[in-house]
Subunit: 139 residues, 2 copies
DNA sequence: CGTCTACCTTGACGCCTGTCGAAGCAGGGG
DNA sequence: CCCCTGCTTCGACAGGCGTCAAGGTAGACG
């Protein structure tokens, strides 16, 4: 298989929009596929913890070396999970010198969160930025 | 709070609490396992669409016969997906006469949503009901 | 009673995925 | 220059998961 399929664009913002609550109207097939991609990425304890570790780390970014120590898993496995999160558009990584630093994309989390709540009464969580801000996956 | 002798206990409320944002502090191993269980259930396009169909249906509940027609899938497959959603605590079903009606548990959706948003400044979305209201899985 | 409909369970099959060891690439120091 | 560390990719293996056909259960209706 061709290696980098960076090819995949997940237009989460385009398909889901900024605010289409799950309970308001039925998701289309395309919408559900896009959303499920993100949920599936978060559907693993290790990845969920990685996401949390990165998000809660000082400075908003974490080095892979910090993440690896937390788990009883091999390096390649951690790398694999980071790749999955990256391809889901949840995080992105940057190499600085010897180390690679990852940071989360809060907009994506906010969008996913907004889809789940029934109405979002006056919720500010719905749209911190604009939907355009959705990161293109770099994989 | 052992629930009924059901199979799985998902103490989502117990482990996750009502408001522990992902980005505030790292998830514990137990928390990530519980949360991942819910996300994994939502990590399939068909299940996500089922959830949306039920949630957005008039009266807050939907008959299985309505759901089956939407997909090009066999009855057993739909039944399987409904079971997964049920065991994740996202929906519950009730038999009335010949038909079985499913309805969603909005509290669970709200809790999951609350975990994702970074801060939730004044968000009321966090807790519509009380955590005790978390549905017991009937599996 | 029998039968028909609606829904669930079982068993089987193929793909997808999490995991590892080994090997490869990128930089920093000797 | 060579090596050493950090991270990723490759190849392989076991287990999980989505799907269906066939068979089972619950209730309605005659």
């Amino acid at each position: 298989m061709s290696k980098q399929g960076g090819t995949e664009e997940h237009a989460l913002a385009e398909v889901v929009g900024c605010c289409s609550p799950l309970a308001r109207e039925p998701l289309s097939a395309a919408q559900s596929v896009e959303l499920a991609r993100v949920f599936k990425a978060m559907g693993d304890p290790v990845r969920l913890r990685l996401l949390s570790l990165i998000a809660s780390h000082a400075g908003g970014e974490a080095c892979v070396c910090d993440l690896t120590d937390v788990f009883d898993l091999s390096g390649p496995t951690i790398s694999h999970h980071l790749k999955v999160l990256r391809e889901a558009g949840l995080i992105s990584g940057e190499r600085r010198g010897t180390w690679v630093y990852y940071r989360v994309h809060p907009d994506v989390l906010a969008q996913v969160s907004a889809v789940l709540v029934p109405a979002a009464p006056d919720s500010p969580a719905a749209m911190p930025g604009d939907r355009e801000a959705l990161p293109v996956v770099e994989a």
